[in-house]
């Protein structure tokens, strides 16, 4: 029997094509490049599993970023427990050295932010979620999320104007 689902979900491949880059950006910002590829696959595998039951009309990007957020938390907890996680994944090709040192500075500055600010900057500006969605992810309000994102950006700006200019 043909079982038409009401407002049909697009093939999952379209979801990967449309949102894959954003989710990767979030994973890299949350975890660093080495663990990001794993978290990215894990995120889309979980999403694929739940996909047929996704409520029509829900924000797919918000849903994916929420899954990525949880995967990142799992990975960080796992990494804290394990002495040295053995990874049999092929290494992502190294960036050119000049660029990676810029990345390192930026990463350092981002990682130095208080957790709520860091989360708010990543979810608001790298994932392009609404403040309401960011608030939900950070277990606070939209207003608090807006403030955290603004404070986070202000702290990053301070960091870069302290002669620490790239």
């Amino acid at each position: 029997m043909v079982r038409p689902r009401d407002p049909a979900l697009p093939p999952f491949e379209e979801v990967v094509a449309e949102h894959g880059p954003v989710v990767m950006r979030v994973c890299r910002a949350l975890l660093g490049q080495a663990d990001a590829a794993d978290a990215w696959s894990e995120t889309f595998l979980s999403a694929l599993e739940a996909y047929p039951n996704l409520q029509p009309g829900s924000s797919i990007r918000g849903w994916l970023v929420t899954i990525a957020h949880r995967k990142a938390i799992d990975q960080l907890r796992g990494a804290a427990r394990r002495p040295q996680p053995a990874s049999d994944l092929p290494e992502v090709p190294a960036d050119d050295p000049g660029e990676s040192s810029v990345d390192d500075k930026l990463r350092g500055a981002l990682d130095a932010l208080p957790p709520k600010q860091r989360g708010a900057v990543i979810y608001r500006y790298l994932a392009d979620l609404s403040y309401a969605e960011v608030g939900e992810l950070l277990e606070s309000s939209a207003t608090a999320a807006r403030r955290s994102a603004a404070d986070g950006i202000a702290n990053l700006r301070k960091h870069f104007s302290k002669g620490d200019r790239p």
Binding site: V2, P4, L9, P11, F12, S41, E49, V102
Partner: protein
């Protein structure tokens, strides 16, 4: 540095390598989460979309059918768990290549006829037994599928065949010798019949 520059720097710093759709598809298949895989293949009749379930080839679509629209229908009729996965379809693609090169007369890849039901499905089952280079009339197909009076239904089953080429609906022609309808268009059907007649 203003806010926008900071956001641009962040975006640029964390954008790039690492996306691996093939690895995702491999893991999805291993975990039983991949319901439909697909790829395209070039052919003398234009680009063909091949889609398979775990059971077998479930859809072959001509480019005139609009591949995106076909995939959207598969998402609603079978499952939206659909990923582009060349590997599961390598053998089907290879056999089609051989067929178009005149080196193959029958397909041995498993076929999933779940998109056809009832009488239509009986028609498709029969079509699979019509040999290379042989044609049959719609009336004879209706008879073979168990309902001699259902000639129009047999014709409709052929023109809606979800797995053309591999299930050779192109070998069914009108009693007056004209080719009849075909998903890939009448010209494609004439090309196939001419190719098989020459081989």
């Amino acid at each position: 540095m203003n806010d926008k520059q900071i956001v641009d720097r962040l975006t640029k710093a964390f954008t790039g390598a690492g996306l691996d759709g093939d690895r995702l598809a491999t893991l999805a298949e291993k975990q039983g989460l991949l319901d439909v895989s697909y790829r395209t293949v070039d052919s003398p009749l234009g680009s063909l979309l091949l889609a398979a379930t775990g059971e077998g080839l479930v859809r072959v679509a001509f480019s005139c059918e609009d591949h995106d629209a076909v995939l959207a229908r598969l998402a609603s009729e079978i499952s939206p768990r659909i990923l582009r996965t060349p590997r599961r379809l390598d053998e089907a693609a290879h056999q089609l290549d051989e067929y178009f090169a005149g080196k193959r007369r029958a397909f041995s890849v498993p076929v999933d006829l779940q998109l056809a039901h009832g009488f239509r499905r009986s028609v498709l089952e029969h079509l699979r037994r019509i040999p290379y280079g042989v044609t049959e009339s719609y009336a004879s197909v209706a008879r073979a599928a168990g309902n001699p009076s259902a000639v129009r239904a047999a014709a409709s089953a052929c023109s809606h065949n979800p797995v053309p080429l591999v299930v050779p609906c192109h070998r069914v022609v009108r009693s007056d010798g004209t080719t009849g309808e075909y998903l890939g268009g009448p010209q494609a059907k004439r090309t196939l019949l001419a190719m098989e007649a020459a081989g």
